[in-house]
């Protein structure tokens, strides 16, 4: 049976269309489902293999980004959600979705699902940042298979992962740090703006649960899935024209979605 994806919407989530488009582009069917619909009919989760919580501004980031939406999900949907991630499924939270997964305690879930181990809080600059970043990937997560680096954008005001020292060492030891901000030369950003756009501890841009099937990622792969979306598109396009070659349609971000296909193949 082909895998199907639920992309959540509602209460200020706003990247559901382009996120579903990314899945559709790689051949995964799915539906955008309003959170209230899912709460009304949580058994719908049984019919899907992938859950995507897209980017956005759920509840306007009030009381901390992702917090209010996560509280709503926890109060109304927790048992079904837990059952879903414990099955052989894939879950991805992008940007606001990442913040929601963290507040739900689905990532990194160092001990148990449902416990908050880390925070994603205000950028060190206290300012929203929309810019392209480079990521180094070292992860066993099925979402990130065979990916070494990614050039995709961030767009957030609260993307700074913070945690206690021992949580950080557990993350490292468990291989749960999925992506780190790097300089253009490949070295770690070392907390320096703008390569690390938010001051995130250990340059962390994404993390997974222990199984690797739940990915919480601040940057937006769906905004870097096509070459024409890239910040250097005009340079690449010009170079391709000079060289007399076709520019590839796809860019690096699409690999994450293709990996979902591979996982269920």
């Amino acid at each position: 049976m082909a895998a199907k994806v639920i992309v959540l919407s509602g209460y200020g989530l706003n990247c559901e269309e382009e996120t579903l488009h990314a899945f559709n582009h790689v051949g995964i069917d799915g539906n955008i489902i309003h959170i209230n619909e899912l709460i009304e009919n949580p058994k719908a989760l049984d019919e899907y293999q992938i859950l995507a919580i897209p980017g956005g501004f759920s509840y306007g980031d009030d009381t901390g980004s992702g917090n209010a939406f996560a509280q709503k999900m926890k109060l109304a949907l927790w048992d079904d959600l837990k059952k879903f991630v414990e099955r052989d499924t894939l879950t991805i939270g992008i940007c606001n979705g990442c913040q929601i997964l963290v507040n739900l305690g689905l990532a990194p879930a160092l001990n148990n699902y449902g416990e908050r181990d880390v925070a994603v809080t205000y950028n060190a600059t206290a300012r929203y940042q929309c810019r392209w970043v480079d990521l180094k990937i070292e992860s066993k997560s099925p979402w990130l298979k065979d990916i070494e680096t990614l050039h995709i954008p961030v767009a957030h005001g609260e993307g700074r992962f913070m945690m206690e020292e021992n949580a950080l060492s557990k993350l490292k030891n468990n291989g749960q740090i999925a992506a780190q901000y790097i300089n253009t030369n490949g070295t770690l950003a070392n907390g320096e703006f703008p390569a690390n756009p938010n001051g995130s501890i250990n340059d962390i841009a994404a993390m997974t649960d222990k199984s690797g099937r739940v990915l919480a990622i601040m940057p937006h792969p769906e905004r870097g899935m096509f070459t024409w979306q890239r910040d250097d598109y005009h340079e690449l396009k010009d170079a391709a024209q000079r060289a007399g070659v076709e520019l590839p349609e796809e860019s690096e971000g699409i690999q994450i979605f293709k990996n979902a296909v591979k996982y269920f193949a």
Partner: protein
């Protein structure tokens, strides 16, 4: 009881560092803690399940206070001001405990350092606005003595005091009528309700209408007429006969240009819906229209920059949602005209100098943050915009906001852009509730700002409430075909939205007591004209009302039936069964008498100055790059989400040198390679010499920016926003007429139709200087022309950054001795006289040839020449690409400074690869103004032979330093 939860953030909080930086800029070393405070009257708010839902235990502590601080500063909202965080907290309280009691948010800053009380007061003035916020400061001692901060619940304390309408006696003298207009209807206690803004001839018409009806007017009827006939809603200056132009400026020029263009283009007409709806719509592809609307929100932004700007952007989003049967917002635009943020002018609203205008830096930060919050929260990309500086914007800043929409051409088998309320349809209002916010907004923006300007005219938008409503409409309900018509609630609130929609059916009967309110105590007239945000009004056949309200409810959106559209010819309102308004529809909409206008005109400007050639071209070029109108605005671009929806092709920062561009390209449909090209042009300072030159240059720039980026020249349309001043003076009206005349000529010449427009005619501040002397600051007459065009394939888009060394550099278009009102003359302290004249004939030749070259992909990079002329353009291209340029201008017959800094319109600088050079030159064969001026260099220098040689790094620094710390 008051329950208060304090959430203490960790020490390394970004917001705390922001406070520390402000204090540091005041020469105070201090550290800060940030505490988020949530207050409620519900005992449930003390329960763990609720308080724990407010804090992330990793970084936040509940009800803990650090012992070590010197000052506590708390900022919360005044009663009745929109508190978005409070609303979310209320929802959390209800989710967690079932208690449906309002919560309120505030923020507490605990500060440790060598600050005095006056320093903390200064800090609070920078980070708050006393018009909408309450501020409480305590020393540590006082804090300890009081056991913490005071517990405040900012609940609106209005009484529900047998509210009804008052009659207004209009059988009064002309002088009394004038007073009624200036101060408003009197309350029982003698206080006045705020300006009606009605000129005497209008009041006389109203007087005689009620005489013929044989009864007194009610307050709600007078308020309704004031709203409907306001300059803001009726655009009387553009509609009135002016000199010998009987049709007025709008019908006589602007609408006429579009009509003539559509006629002459015949089958190739791109317009579908122009000037008749909330936005203008042109053809995007076989299945979709693209819509555009640009609004201004100037007066509210002067009082509360954040609130004014966020209300503006979410308001213009609703213009898009209210286009036709509802368009999906796909791009936002912004534009700010501001005073120098480094300046500190002392202007006051009152003679005793106690009520100071906000400093320019507060206004700048506030309007930028307002558009950020509104645009980012709504999930609409904001790639396009501009900031223009002139100190005459200190009194009234100009805040432009625009939204582009996408709508299917056919929805449910009917044209997507058409709608009409039918008699018998129910009036449904959906979205936010009504409060006292925004009362008299429409009448207030039609008068100059002074001491009596009402604070209630300010609202704060709530983008999340709107997002829920917008998604439910655009992504679901629209396509079910449940409603006959939709429009937004903007200026004038229900009085405008219901009144306008009822023109379709021929009347309405509204049951005003059914309108959902934020709190008790509002009078009928207040409910009717309140500009509370985030509401759409619908006309819905009775059989569809239940399912529509039901679906809205499932999406967390309140929707209510509040009346019926009729064909009675009457505008009727009842309040608990009593009829309180009953006006003839024709009188309501067309009863305002014509008021012919007459104009005079005197050209401004000085004699052309005799200036010495600069000693150092390097120095003058770097100084020019650092000028406010030329330098980088990267700090704004990175705060605005420009790639949400995954649609950004050409974003605000171009090339690896990240130059702030003036044009954007977006792919609104992920499934189609078609692009939308957006740009704009404005030259306010040119008005000091001649508004004709100002308007022509703005229109030409808007067109040329889009052309340079590769737009299909025959799929380009325009929007006009006139922001004038003192429009009751014949001289200002004369300036207006000249501007309108020339944009008619240019638009027809270029065949670029106007599809939408908006004006704001009184951008004046009347107040006092620090000596208590009366002053008036008028914004320079400003026409913003925005352009929107289509590109068949985004592959054809062209960025400004040169791509490879060895490419050829061309200057297209003629450079003349035209430095009047230029950035260069202003840098040298001159105004001059030779303001650029626009040669539409010559420009059109260039644009057509260029469009062919861009379609054939012959151009590697291009940039239209704007502020600061050729010199600045070459420098920006150098910075963007990171390549040097080797330029020779010796063939031109102009002194080097004039050659470099003249602002002659109609020019583009392009670079072309060696493989395309021949085809490019062939393309322009016979066009005498195609000049080869050099090549992209292998060095990292901008080299202009015999004139200057400056390294990329030096240029980059000069370009980015000015506003780096904002």
């Amino acid at each position: 009881m008051h329950y208060r939860t304090e959430i203490l953030a960790h020490k390394d909080d970004g917001r705390a560092h922001h406070i520390e930086k402000i204090l540091h800029d005041m020469d105070i070393r201090a550290s800060a803690w940030v505490v988020d405070v949530y207050s409620s009257e519900s005992a449930a708010a003390a329960k763990d399940i609720f308080t724990k839902s407010l804090a992330n235990p990793i970084t936040q502590k509940i009800n803990e206070t650090p012992a070590d601080f010197d000052w506590a500063l708390e900022i919360g909202f005044l009663a009745g001001v929109t508190d978005n965080v409070g609303h979310t907290t209320s929802e959390l309280l209800e989710l967690a405990t079932g208690s449906a009691v309002e919560c309120y948010s505030s923020r507490l800053y605990l500060i440790k350092g060598d600050a005095k009380l006056s320093d903390i007061e200064q800090l609070s003035a920078i980070i708050s606005n006393k018009l909408i916020q309450r501020i409480s400061i305590k020393s540590h001692e006082q804090y300890e003595r009081d056991g913490g901060m005071d517990k405040i619940i900012p609940k609106v304390g209005l009484e529900n005091k047998n509210i009804t309408t008052d009659n207004v006696d209009l059988d009064i003298s002309d002088d009394e009528l004038k007073d009624l207009s200036k101060y408003g209807i009197a309350n029982k206690d003698g206080s006045k309700r705020g300006p009606l803004g009605l000129p005497l001839p209008y009041l006389k018409a109203i007087q005689s209408y009620f005489k013929s009806e044989g009864r007194e007017a009610t307050d709600i009827e007078i308020e309704t007429l004031a709203q409907t006939w306001s300059e803001h809603c009726k655009h009387t200056i553009f509609a009135s006969p002016i000199d010998d132009i009987a049709k007025g400026l709008y019908k006589g020029y602007i609408q006429r240009a579009t009509k003539e263009i559509r006629k002459s283009r015949g089958e190739n007409d791109i317009c579908v819906s122009v000037f008749s709806d909330n936005a203008g719509g042109i053809i995007f592809d076989e299945d979709h229209l693209i819509t555009d609307k640009v609004e201004t929100h100037n007066s509210p932004s002067a009082l509360d920059p954040f609130g004014g700007a966020i209300t503006g952007i979410v308001g213009v989003n609703r213009d898009c949602i209210g286009f036709g049967m509802g368009a999906k917002p796909v791009v936002n635009r912004y534009g700010f005209c501001l005073a120098d943020p480094r300046s500190k002018p002392n202007y006051f609203r009152d003679k005793s100098c106690t009520d100071a205008l906000l400093p320019p830096s507060n206004i700048m930060n506030g309007v930028i943050a307002g558009v950020e919050a509104g645009g980012n929260c709504s999930g609409i990309p904001t790639p396009s915009g501009f900031v223009y500086f002139d100190d005459r914007f200190a009194g009234k800043p100009l805040v432009f906001v625009g939204t582009i929409g996408l709508i299917p051409r056919v929805i449910n088998g009917k044209a997507g852009h058409e709608k009409c309320a039918q008699a018998g349809d129910k009036i449904i209002v959906a979205g936010g509730r009504v409060g006292a916010d925004g009362i008299h907004g429409a009448t207030f923006s039609s008068v100059a700002l002074d001491e009596g300007s009402p604070a209630t005219a300010v609202q704060i938008g709530d983008p999340i409430t709107q997002k829920k409503m917008s998604d439910a409409i655009i992504k679901e309900i629209r396509d079910f075909g449940w409603y006959s018509a939709i429009t937004d609630n903007g200026a004038g609130g229900l009085s405008s939205s219901v009144g306008e929609m009822a023109e379709g059916s021929g009347g309405f009967h509204l049951e005003l007591e059914k309108v959902p309110l934020k709190y008790a105590g509002l009078s009928p007239w207040e409910i009717w004209i309140s500009e509370s945000q985030e509401r759409m009004t619908f006309a819905v056949p009775p059989e569809n009302t239940d399912k529509m309200i039901g679906l809205f409810a499932k999406r967390g959106v309140e929707a209510t039936v509040i009346g019926t559209y009729t064909d009675s010819g009457r505008a009727k309102i009842s309040w608990n069964d009593e009829i309180i308004m009953d006006l003839d529809m024709d009188f309501l909409h067309d009863g305002n008498p014509e008021t012919p206008l007459s104009t005079t005109f005197t050209r401004g400007g000085e004699v052309e100055p005799d200036i010495a050639e600069p000693d150092s071209y390097e120095n003058i070029l770097t100084a020019m790059l650092g000028r406010l109108n030329i330098c980088s605005k990267e700090f704004i671009a990175t705060q605005y989400d420009h790639n949400v929806q995954g649609s950004a092709v050409l974003a605000p920062l171009q090339g690896k040198g990240r130059v702030y561009g003036e044009v954007s390209v977006t792919r609104p449909l992920l499934t189609s390679p078609k692009g939308v090209v957006l740009s704009q042009g404005l030259f306010p300072r040119y008005s000091d010499i001649d508004t004709k030159a100002m308007a022509a240059a703005g229109l030409d720039m808007a067109v040329r920016n889009a052309v340079a980026a590769g737009v299909d020249f025959n799929q380009l349309a325009l929007l006009d926003n006139f922001c004038w001043c003192s429009s009751d003076e014949p001289e200002r009206l004369g300036q207006l007429k000249r501007a309108v005349e020339v944009i008619y000529e240019l638009a027809v010449k270029y065949q670029t139709p106007f599809i939408s427009g908006k004006d704001s005619m009184f951008n004046d501040f009347k107040g006092y200087n620090e000596n208590g002397e009366a002053i008036k600051i008028s914004a320079p007459p400003t026409l913003l022309v925005s352009s929107i065009g289509i590109m068949t394939n985004v592959e054809n888009s062209i960025s400004i950054a040169p791509k490879a060394a060895g490419d050829s550099v061309y200057l297209l278009g003629a450079t003349k001795d035209e430095l009047g009102a230029s950035e260069y003359y202003d840098e040298l302290g001159h105004l001059g006289n030779n303001v650029p004249e626009t040669d539409a004939h010559q420009n059109l030749r260039l644009y057509k040839l260029y469009a062919r070259a861009s379609r054939d992909r012959l151009i590697s990079s291009a940039m239209a020449v704007g502020y600061g002329g050729l010199g600045v353009t070459l420098a920006k291209k150098t910075i963007a690409g990171g390549f040097g340029l080797d330029i020779d201008l010796s063939g031109f017959d102009l002194r080097s400074d004039k050659m470099l800094f003249s602002e002659s319109t109609g020019r583009i600088v392009a670079t072309v690869s060696p493989q395309n050079k021949k085809a490019f030159e062939k393309n322009f064969k016979g066009f005498e103004e195609c000049h080869y001026i050099g090549s992209v260099a292998y060095s990292k220098n901008l080299f202009i032979r015999s004139v200057l040689k400056v390294g990329v790094k030096v240029l980059d620094e000069a370009y980015k330093a000015t506003l780096r710390d904002y």
